[in-house]
Symmetry: C2
Subunit: 147 residues, 2 copies
């Protein structure tokens, strides 16, 4: 399908470019904060997700967009560090739910808070209205992706 869809110069989109750049900044902030706390970004993300309560592997793999086989290793490493534990399901002996240890909960909250703080700083010079408008618009974009 090498149709003449003008894949040449017509692809200059300030909107898309801004989104991509923004994404990079978020990644860097995430990486910086994670590193300062001695975990990898993926491990930090796992902790953040779990602050909402224990979750099973299958559900977790859906939330993190990871294959279950990838998740096993990730949980292994985080468990080895003492931040989560596998809690066996009382009714279903196959299943387990990943639960934060007190230490893991503390770290998760801290990392989450710091990431939010650093991102907020980036927007604290624009009017509150603009900030709100961006948040709303981006949320709409995210919702549209799920379609």
């Amino acid at each position: 399908m090498t149709t003449t869809t003008t894949t040449k110069a017509g692809t200059e989109s300030a909107f898309a470019t801004a989104l991509v750049r923004m994404s990079h900044v978020v990644q860097y902030v995430f990486a910086d904060v994670s590193r300062e706390h001695g975990v990898t970004p993926q491990q930090a993300q796992l902790l953040c997700v779990l602050t909402g309560g224990p979750i099973g592997m299958t559900e977790l793999s859906r939330l993190l967009h990871l294959e279950k086989s990838s998740l096993t290793g990730l949980v292994d490493r985080v468990e080895r560090r003492g931040f989560v534990t596998r809690v066996s399901h009382p009714r279903d002996r196959r299943a387990c739910r990943i639960s934060l240890t007190p230490e893991g909960a503390r770290l998760g909250e801290k990392v989450h808070g710091e990431i939010c703080a650093r991102l907020d700083v980036l927007g604290d010079e624009m009017p509150e209205a603009d900030r709100l408008r961006i948040a709303t618009a981006l949320t709409g974009v995210v919702a549209r992706y799920a379609t």
Copy 2:
């Protein structure tokens, strides 16, 4: 179960949350498009950066936020696939510049175009003015990060 942490701390920032979610969407789009073209996201990003012209390793490592040692391997793998070549600098025998092969240039353009297209689709239901405002605001945020 639901820990009802709504009355917890004041670290609930819709702005930061929206940025993080948006970042994930961009990551997924990037991953999808890259995979469909048989390269990894990192390799695709390298190709995209190089569409602006050949760049040396040191400069490239700054652009991609990678250690030079990490970059060596990345360039190796992309070179093995035939998408880039190391061109030795005529004046400085230490340096080399990474240049796209015709095939690499084609792939880079294609990937870049498709990523932009898919991101644009996510915003094509909001008014042009809003889209522009978001782009401008986000660009400002990105600029502020560099500070």
